[in-house]
Amino acid sequence: MTAMKNLVRTILLFIALHSGLAFAQSKQFITGGTIEFEKTQNMFAIMKNKVTKDNASNKDYYEQYLKNEPQFLTYKSTLIFNANSSLFTPIPGKSIQWYYDAPIANQLNTVYSDFTHGTTTTQKEFYEHTYLIKDTLRKIKWKITDETQTVAGYTCRRANGLVLDSVYVVAFYADDIHASGGPESFTGLPGMILKLSLPYEHVIWVATKVNPAAVDDKKLVAPKKGIVVDYKQMLKVLTDAQGRWGEVGRYFIRGFSL
């Protein structure tokens, strides 16, 4: 279906270019709609991240997981957006046995991003607490590449990024969608991110469906519940809570921060 659409589009473009017809500039960019994301996580690798020499019990769990549980788990989420803002909402899925769990394997955040003011309101679940992070949009150092890939029928350009100063991100964004959003709190590219992978965290988000029908602005509201903090305070909460675990906690803090 997608291939068909692409073919049609290519033919049309071909005709447009070669016939000199002037409808290329009337290209319709998308400035609003709904995107369904699917997050796929490599649990084998995530479990392996939790195993070290001095934590033998996790090794047992890792081996047990290898034997009995699926390597890949997928979760769904939706992103609604217009040109000025977006709201990313996870859809609860099959819960992971908590002893296999890691923060990165969860969908912890409901993210409202305001591109006009460059601010975000992120509702974050941290164990039993719910936090509401109000801050500027997260700074991500994006490097644009010239590699492209088609995602959900849209040609996407690859950008490599660095978030939280150390986490490597690969994003594919669609020039066709003129909104600077993406899954979770990954934003700041000159187009909508339709595929995003954290190679060292072993998770990937891929848009499965893009519905360009404009959404009701009333639905595009920031989450309201939670303890209000900014990113700095949130990090302090995480560090205070899990710093006690020493090195142990860092993997979790990173997962919770993403």
Binding site: A22, K27, F44, K50, E128, E247, Y251
Partner: protein, 911 residues
């Protein structure tokens, strides 16, 4: 429109740069190369030339773009438009050239990968799921070859006392399951001592309903504290077990074999025990499921036991788990020798009497039972479960007793010397069928449940007694003194039937209404005869005074309705039983019939609320009609204890009890800390209480009556905090329990005695453990304040207890450990001397083989030889000190072999 957005976006992105600085900017127009048509909405991206890090972006408005407030330096411009080839150009902005054009230059990207430190993760230890507390076994380090028992000891809130009883947050655990299924019935010992700790993934603790409530669907408000041991997926297939043999001084020995074969669809297990150390195969949680008599003749820590028992368990599922079977066969023999003495002070309104008694007995019992349960899905909507059990019990005992009662001033009142020899045989059977049907509408169900049980027991008893009364001056009164030498054969038959049906209709998605009815019909016959010895030496002269032959029936019916709302956050339920009961008691000798009718009311309500993922509260109320028992209305006439006689009260009315409970839990996974808080309160109206009348000869006559105007009530509170000091893996579990008996009542010589008591207890357990060592220390202080209006002196008891245990792995696979408990009870008005006892056990041994599964251990039990069998009890009615023969210091050298082999489940591993 898009242009405006782009400008807004642009302004916003630029707003961080101070206006006073030089405005570095670029501008241009993007057009189609061939048609020269301006491209609207093209993406203009400015990156730094060095590393192509994105600086700013904007979309063209009618082909034009304009980016202000850029940072100076070497930059890269990239223009993209769908289906057009990218345009890129390097350019430089500096003070001399604040506005720049771009040339045709391409830039090669280099991606820099980051090396990450792989960090180990810590597992969350506890999770609250509904009313279940779930422990993650991986969070608690146990030794190699450890059993579930060793794991349980590490869990916060869990305690195993000396007789093997498991206590969770102050309440006794009554039932234990493996993967939600019964294993050897529901005897906890066969799970805790058998299943390996490394097989366990989770331990779940919850309040279950009774079997009857679960099967009938009608909530009776009773709670059964249950532990479910969830096995790890990769340990569900395998063979494991252990063999243990030990020999000690003083002819002590202990031997144990356990073998299990598990697979996901089938479990086979077998065990055998023999020991005279009082430690294995005793006091297991054999419950009433196996019928009457089974719980008699058990070992309760007093005396010297010799136990031999064994059993087989099999369960299986097949046909896509549509059918399953669960069977257990157990048999056991137990011999107990007891010898003891006791001194009691019996309270009287005018003072007190003293009673001294000494006794000895030998008993032997042999019992066996078979239990089988079959479960089948008749179709996709209905299930049928049937189960049956058959149990036999044979026992014999010989006992001697000598009891003397004295006035408070030391003058002799009476003396009774008895000898009893009896044989007891019983057999009981049980049959149950349970049918459940669901309908297309979710939540609509219909169920039918029926059970029948039969019990037949026969006792042959030879009874001799020599009872002497003394007059006020302490001289023998030969006129009233009685000698008895009788043969007392008796039999008892009971037949119980129960049935119910229940229909549940969902009123809304989260609201369900249930209604149904139940009925039961119980019939019993108790026949007891007494024969005196004739001149020929045979027991052939009937003693009609002590012949009893009663037939009792109790027919009960109830209408039941319940309304239940359940959502993720809130569960609310209310229910009520409303019905009646008709009791008849026929005296077949005197040919009299006593008929009584009661109405029955059993309202209950419960409420569950989840504040957050971490905190929940439960609240419940249970009201219940409690009908008097036949033995309270008309007990069997007996002469086996003429100093303590119970007479009936046909005027007894039912009592009604009201119980309230509250439970608050919070657990913070982040810090592995939490709080458990529980309060229970109950009061009884029309309470049935005893009246003891002690006559001038020292004979106690007991009779029951309803208490009018007063409501006995009691309450208890339990608070437990647990957590780790900052930066430490030490586990602290301070807990406080306070219980109050605001007022309980009994009559003594027709005078009402009101008793008040308060018990305070503070406990501080501390634990520290890892793979190679474990230490625990518990400090406990308690204060009991008792007051009764008939007592001259207050009976307050103070005491403390220190418990500790230690285990260390030593080099060369040696290990050493100790378990100790020191108790101290301070003197008080009743007992003028303090009581202290220090029980110390130590063991030392070596492990062999790679898996450390062969072990030689030398254990010294009660090293200080302080297990004297001494105990004290006190109530408002009497105070007793007793001394019993118990197992004292002994050493045991034992060899233990643990074996385990677990298969791997076939699942292909992807890289």
């Amino acid at each position: 429109m898009r242009n405006r957005i782009a400008i807004i976006l642009f302004c916003c992105l630029c707003s961080f740069t101070a206006a006073a600085q030089i405005n570095y900017s670029i501008k241009g127009v993007v057009s189609d190369t061939t048609t020269k048509i301006k491209l609207d909405g093209a993406t203009i991206v400015v990156m730094s030339a060095k590393d192509s890090i994105l600086q700013k972006f904007v979309y063209t408005g009618k082909g034009a773009f304009n980016i202000n407030n850029l940072k100076p330096g070497n930059l890269l411009l990239q223009i993209t438009y769908p289906d057009y080839a990218d345009y890129t150009a390097n350019f430089t902005l500096d003070a001399a050239h604040p506005l720049k054009d771009f040339g045709d230059l391409n830039l090669v990207l280099k991606s820099r990968l980051l090396n990450e430190v792989i960090i180990k993760a810590k597992v969350v230890a506890i999770k609250l799921k509904g009313d279940t507390t779930e422990f993650n076994a991986a969070a608690y380090a146990t030794q190699k070859n450890a059993k579930v028992e060793d794991l349980l000891k590490l869990l916060p809130g869990m305690r195993i006392n000396q007789s093997g009883v498991i206590i969770f947050q102050g309440e006794q655990v009554q039932k234990m399951l493996v993967d939600g299924e019964e294993f050897f019935g529901d005897d906890p010992a066969l799970i805790t001592k058998n299943v390996r700790a490394d097989m366990v993934s989770k331990i779940q603790v919850y309040d279950d309903k009774t079997d009857l409530a679960k099967k009938s669907g009608m909530d009776d408000g009773q709670k059964v504290k249950t532990i479910n041991v969830v096995l790890r997926e990769d340990k569900k297939r395998g063979v494991f077990g252990k063999a243990d043999a030990g020999i000690g001084n003083d002819k002590r020995y202990a031997g144990q074999i356990m073998a299990n074969k598990f697979s996901p669809k089938e479990k086979i297990a077998i065990y055998g025990n023999t020991a005279n150390t009082g430690s294995v195969g005793l006091g297991g949680g054999d419950n009433n499921k196996y019928g009457g008599g089974f719980s008699n003749y058990s070992f309760n820590g007093v005396g010297i036991p010799v136990a031999r028992d064994g059993g087989v368990h099999y369960d299986a599922k097949w046909n896509k788990d549509k059918q399953s079977i669960n069977t257990t066969y157990k048999l056991g023999a137990l011999d107990v020798d007891q010898q003891g003495s006791s001194q009691s002070k019996i309270t009287l309104p005018t003072g007190y009497n003293n009673t001294n008694s000494s006794s000895s007995s030998h008993s032997h019992s042999f019992r066996q039972n078979l239990y089988a349960d079959f479960n089948t899905q008749l179709d996709s909507m209905s299930t049928l479960e049937i189960s049956t059990s058959d149990a036999t019990s044979n026992a014999s005992s010989v006992s001697d007793n000598n009891t003397t009662t004295l006035h408070g001033n030391g003058v002799m009142l009476n003396n009774n010397v008895t000898h009893n020899s009896s044989n007891y045989n019983s057999r009981s059977g049980y049959f149950m069928a349970d049918y459940h049907r669901r309908f297309k509408k979710p939540g609509r169900t219909f169920s039918m449940y029926a059970e029948a049980s039969l019990n037949h027991s026969v006792t042959d008893n030879y009874f001799k007694s020599d009872l002497k009364y003394y007059d006020a001056t302490g001289k023998l009164d030969s006129v009233t003194s009685v000698k008895t030498d009788q043969y007392k054969p008796s039999y008892s038959d009971t037949r119980n039937l129960y049935g119910n049906f229940l229909y549940t209709e969902p009123l809304a998605k989260q609201l369900a209404l249930s209604f149904g009815m139940n009925f039961s019909n119980n019939r019993g016959r108790d026949n007891q005869q007494s024969f005196n010895k004739s001149a020929s030496g045979a027991y052939d002269i009937p003693d009609l005074l002590y012949n009893n032959d009663y037939t009792t029936t109790n027919a009960i019916y109830n209408y039941y309705a319940a309304l239940r709302y359940s959502s993720e956050k809130i569960i609310v339920g209310i229910s009520n039983h409303l019905g009646g009961s008709k009791q008849t008691q026929t005296d077949n000798i005197l040919d009299t019939v006593l008929t009584r009718k009661y109405s029955i009311l059993n309202p209950r309500a419960d409420f569950f609320y989840r504040f957050s993922k971490a905190a929940t509260i439960n609240f419940w109320y249970n009201g219940q009609t409690q009908a008097p028992s036949f033995s309270q209305i008309q007990p069997l006439r007996q002469n086996t204890d003429l100093l303590n006689i119970t007479i009936g009260n046909p005027l007894l009315k039912p009592s009604f009890s009201n119980a309230f409970g509250f439970y608050y839990r919070v657990y913070q996974a982040v810090n592995d800390q939490g709080i458990n808080f529980r309060i229970n309160y109950n009061f009884t109206s029309n309470a049935i209480i005893t009246n003891r009348r002690t006559d001038s000869a020292g004979v106690n006559t007991y009779q029951y009556s309803n208490l009018v105007g007063q409501h006995p009530n009691n309450w208890n509170m339990y608070l437990e905090l647990y957590g780790h000091p900052k930066g430490s893996s030490l586990l602290l579990l301070p807990n406080i329990s306070i219980s109050g008996n605001n007022s309980s009542y009994n009559f003594i010589n027709n005078q009402l005695s009101a008793n008040h008591s308060m018990n305070y207890q503070v406990d501080l357990p501390i634990r520290l453990g890892a793979k190679d060592y474990s230490y625990s220390l518990g400090l406990n202080a308690s204060l009991a304040k008792n007051q009764a209006n008939l007592l001259q002196a207050a009976n307050d008891t103070k005491g403390y207890e220190i418990r500790f245990s230690q285990y260390n792995k030593l080099p060369f696979n040696f290990f050493i450990g100790t378990d100790g408990q020191y108790d101290y009870t301070a003197p008080n008005n009743i007992f003028p001397t303090a009581f202290s006892r220090f029980l110390l056990k130590a063991y030392f041994g070596k492990k062999f083989l790679k898996e450390e599964n062969l072990k030689i251990t030398l254990t010294g039990s009660d090293l200080l030889n302080q297990n004297t069998g001494y105990s004290r009890t006190g109530t408002s009615d009497n105070f007793t000190e007793s001394r019993n023969l118990v197992i004292k210091r002994f050493f045991l050298l034992s060899v233990t072999w643990d074996f385990s082999k677990f298969g791997t489940l076939a699942q292909p591993q992807k890289p």
